[in-house]
């Protein structure tokens, strides 16, 4: 085969590979795995609630979208199908940690074992603070 054709074929293949790589990144970039992230901050649920209650804007700038490792006593557990939310410290306005259905299915034993009154450590992404829900952590895991 003429050399020029060989070069063109290799270039096309290379271009296709790059294109495929871009496609994978755009459409299949994996979600942040909060479970494998080193937490940006480690603190107690009480501390976290206090900081948000006293200086909400500053605290949101610090913790918003970050992985937080939080320790506290379970005040309530809410189950809606495979969506589980564990509320720490304060039943009405504590730290709300939601586990994704996928995570629950792979860790059902660990999560079902949680009882109101237990001291637990959870890690999750901080979405912010809400008057009714308290501090909201999502994509939670039990580290």
């Amino acid at each position: 085969m003429k050399k020029i054709y060989k070069i063109l074929i290799y270039l096309t293949l290379f271009g296709l590979l790059c294109g495929f790589g871009v496609y994978l990144y755009v459409f299949h970039k994996p979600h942040r795995n909060v479970g494998s992230e080193k937490p940006a901050f480690t603190l107690t649920a009480s501390e976290l609630i206090k900081e948000f209650s006293e200086k909400e804007d500053v605290t949101y700038k610090l913790y918003g979208d970050k992985a937080l490792q939080v320790t506290g006593k379970i005040a309530d557990i809410a189950k809606k199908g495979n969506d589980i939310t564990v509320i720490l410290e304060d039943k009405s306005s504590g730290v709300s940690c939601s586990f994704e259905a996928e995570y629950f299915q792979k860790n059902a034993e660990k999560i079902n074992a949680m009882k109101v009154g237990d001291d637990v450590t959870v890690k999750g992404k901080c979405d912010g603070f809400d008057m009714i829900m308290g501090v909201v952590l999502t994509r939670c895991v039990v580290p």
Binding site: V26, F27, H31, G64, K80, T85, G128, D130, T138
Partner: protein, 176 residues
């Protein structure tokens, strides 16, 4: 008589959820954008029709991580505007009989605040009463432009200005 009732009382008219659901949907020939938020709070008072709903914008979850990042960083600017909230009234709250099972058609009027903008909302919905359980459903569209959400020129054909929100709340009585 008035003093007798002043102590502890369960307000049988107020209901709350912290596990409300909002689905966001937009479809064009080029893209289908879908997101689910399962951390929506709402309180409804059947005594006067008042209804509020609040959520954190970051609680919207997209299938694609890049779309979720783009949504938060470029469209909603979640860093600056972390919350979305609705405040309004179930206009015909008196039509709902909390003690009688059934589907009740309702009209909701209020204002929605997100991305720093507030706009009126006028929607139809249904309250379902089943054996003492109260659930509410509604669906309405929001205009991106009305909330000053800036879509890049190159994406304008891929993303509708109108985004459909489908809301489901399964309420429980709120103890006062």
């Amino acid at each position: 008589m008035g003093i007798f009732f002043c102590g502890f009382h369960l307000n049988a008219q107020k209901y709350i959820t912290k596990e409300g659901n909002i689905e966001l949907f937009s479809k064009t020939p080029l893209f289908t954008i879908e997101a689910v938020n399962k951390k929506v709070a709402s309180i409804v008072d059947f005594g006067n029709g008042d209804v509020v709903a609040t959520t954190l914008v970051r609680s919207f979850k997209f299938h694609e991580a890049l779309v979720e990042d783009h949504f938060n960083e470029n469209y909603m600017e979640s860093e600056k505007f972390p919350k979305a909230s609705f405040k309004g009234k179930v206009i015909n709250f008196k039509d709902v009989d909390l003690k009688k099972n059934g589907d009740y058609k309702i009209t909701i009027k209020g204002t929605l605040t997100m991305h720093g903008e507030t706009n009126p909302v006028d929607a139809q919905g249904t309250i379902t009463i089943k054996d003492g359980k109260v659930s509410g459903k509604t669906q309405f569209n929001v205009s991106l432009a009305a909330y000053k959400i800036r879509v890049e020129e190159s994406y304008k054909k891929s993303i509708n200005d109108d985004i459909r929100l489908s809301i489901t709340f399964d309420y429980a009585p709120l103890a006062n």
